[in-house]
């Protein structure tokens, strides 16, 4: 078994026991990237030199007997919308093709402080707008389980890299499902933390009230370990929560006995593939057999979630993306006459079609005469969706649903039908709308031999309960073996 096949927690132990060096580990993962990247296309850029430099630094520190973080020397891939000082950060857009941030995102400083080895930047849908990574300006990313299929999105590169062994863990970002949906389609674990628990400073904004950075990995423990690294209050993010954050990985324990799991019937409707429904219900049944209590609950406003999400997210995107004007940084059109023409040509040439659609939808719903009919209405429904979740959490500890209506679709089939593509997020957007933590776990393969995902949603800042429940399910399954079935 090669090193890249192991989990971060296994490798952490091996490094600590000097069974392997950080350099050997880094080289093995870089070799794996060289072997499979032409089939997968998970990376926008790979930082060979700085990765090996960090690995050597960690080995030297260990030899000197310095006290190291458990994840020191573990190779990690970073979604390309997270600012990395001195490393090109493109958002997979022509607009930022040559942008090199002069500062680190807070999560990157935390990852550096832990001594993790940054391998490179992961491909994504342009500005995180998409559910298949097909809107990337850079190149396609393919699903390691079947390279004719999409890896999901927008954190498609982050999910595909974990599934293909091209990274041990990765960071993604989730605005409407962008960590969980690709995690489900690639058969890995992906956590969207509670809004406010991970700093967004340095995350290139899509929809600021919904965006959240989160960890992806092969096991629940890996995701818990990485979440402990990146979470915490940050004075550079006004929405960051001041509180004591637990050490999620050390506190991981099985919690099926007496765990109250809510099953909302609205998430098991006609749009959900039968095979997905069956596998999710089977997972719930197994938790029940281990002592969990199943409660049928109702979240009646779920049917309006996708509409609400696309109004709020696009409205915020139209405002956030106004900064790309060709003046201070990023792409500028070559031929123009006057300032307005420069703005328009720069933005029209720099953004892809999906980004333009979202900016225009956002502009439309915020424009005079339509603001009340769209944006205000959506904000009212957002409040209602949140209060329905609050009531639900009075009678249950976690909520279980499918992550995605079906397994990965073929490359090209949905790209010309935006509305069909948007419905991929139907089970995931509610956690963003209500600011809740949610995790996607592999729950078996369908008849096409593609992974399916179980989503667990927790109460605000109840990551520990959520991760414990996920860990319990993982134990029941005897571990997730996504990697053995990919590529």
């Amino acid at each position: 078994m090669r090193l890249y096949e192991k989990t971060a927690s296994e490798l952490s132990e091996m490094l600590n026991n000097k069974e392997c060096s950080a350099e050997e580990l880094c080289k093995d993962v870089l070799d794996r990237i060289n072997e499979t990247e032409n089939k997968v296309g998970a990376y926008v850029s790979v930082s060979y030199e700085s990765a090996l430099e960090n690995a050597e630094k960690i080995d030297t520190a260990r030899q000197r007997g310095e006290k190291l973080h458990p994840l020191a020397g573990i190779p990690i891939g970073i979604k390309d919308n997270i600012s990395t000082k001195g490393i090109r950060t493109t958002c997979s857009s022509k607009m930022l093709e040559n942008y090199v941030p002069p500062f680190n995102a807070t999560v990157i400083n935390k990852i550096n402080n832990a001594g993790m080895t940054i391998l490179g930047k992961m491909n994504m849908d342009e500005f995180a707008m998409g559910s298949s990574t097909e809107t990337s300006y850079m190149h396609l990313t393919r699903n390691p389980h079947n390279t004719d299929c999409v890896p999901g999105g927008s954190s498609g590169g982050s999910a595909a890299a974990v599934a293909a062994g091209e990274a041990i863990v990765t960071l993604g970002s989730d605005t409407g499902g962008s960590i969980r949906q690709p995690a489900a389609l690639c058969g890995v674990v992906g956590l969207k933390p509670t809004y406010g628990s991970v700093s967004r400073y340095g995350l290139i904004a899509f929809a600021s009230s919904l965006d959240q950075i989160g960890p992806m990995g092969k096991s629940v423990r890996d995701v818990a370990m990485l979440q402990s690294v990146i979470c915490g209050h940050d004075k550079y993010d006004a929405t960051s929560k001041v509180m004591e954050y637990p050490d999620y990985a050390s506190n991981l324990k099985e919690n099926a006995k007496g765990l109250k799991i809510g099953i909302p019937k609205e998430y098991f409707g006609s749009g959900i593939d039968d095979e997905v429904k069956d596998s999710v219900m089977k997972a719930i049944k197994e938790l029940e057999l281990n002592g969990a209590e199943i409660k049928e609950i109702t979240l009646p406003s779920t049917e309006y979630a996708i509409n609400t999400y696309y109004i709020i997210a696009s409205a915020e995107a139209s405002s956030n993306l106004a900064r790309f004007d060709g003046v201070k940084y990023g792409y500028r059109a070559e031929n123009y006459s006057g300032l307005t023409d420069m703005y328009e040509k720069t933005r029209s040439e720099g953004f892809g079609d999906e980004v333009k659609r979202r900016i225009m939808l956002g502009t439309f719903v915020l424009s005079s005469g339509y603001f009340d009919a769209y944006y205000k209405k959506a904000k009212r429904i957002q409040n209602r969706i949140s209060s329905e979740f609050s009531s639900a959490f009075e009678e249950c500890d976690i909520i279980a649903t499918p992550t995605v209506p079906a397994s990965a679709f073929k490359i090209g089939v949905n790209i010309n039908d935006p509305v069909k593509m948007y419905y991929n997020d139907v089970c995931t957007v509610t956690a963003n709308i209500a600011g809740l933590p949610a995790i996607s776990l592999p729950c078996g393969m369908d008849s096409k031999n593609m992974p399916m995902g179980l989503q667990l949603i927790g109460n605000k800042f109840a990551e520990q309960t959520l991760l414990n429940s996920a860990y319990t399910y993982e134990k029941i399954c005897g571990g997730f073996d996504a990697l053995s079935k990919a590529l």
């Binding site: 090199v100 002069p102 424009s367």
Partner: protein
């Protein structure tokens, strides 16, 4: 009966309003507001897509719940209102600029 008299015209107005919204997606106008230009050959496709998207997001019920635009349970911690010394070097920031002259960003002439 009085209830019907009050609600009936309102509902018709809303339905008409909705139809009007769907009929009048003026892509060129929205693009202009967004500081975008859509190529002529792509106008039809964008218009068709926008119509279907607006049609999708349009299906929201009228509810009279109280409205708070921020999350009332998680108030933001705002920084104190004091000037922060710039931690960046001018030349580092200008490295990403499309056009620079004498340490300044170059933009087209805006005043005659």
């Amino acid at each position: 009966m009085p209830l019907i008299k009050i609600f009936f015209p309102v509902r018709i107005y809303l339905i008409c309003g909705r139809m009007e919204i769907i009929m009048n997606i003026d892509i060129k106008h929205i693009a202009k507001l967004s500081r975008l230009k859509i190529e002529d050959e792509k106008l039809d496709k964008f218009e068709k897509n926008m119509k279907s998207i607006v049609d999708m997001v349009d299906k929201l019920p009228e509810i009279n719940d109280s409205l708070s635009l921020l999350d009332p349970t998680e108030p933001m911690t705002l920084r104190s209102d004091i000037a922060v010394t710039n931690k960046f070097k001018r030349e580092d920031l200008l490295k990403n600029a499309p056009e620079v002259q004498a340490g300044c960003l170059v933009v087209p002439k805006t005043v005659e």
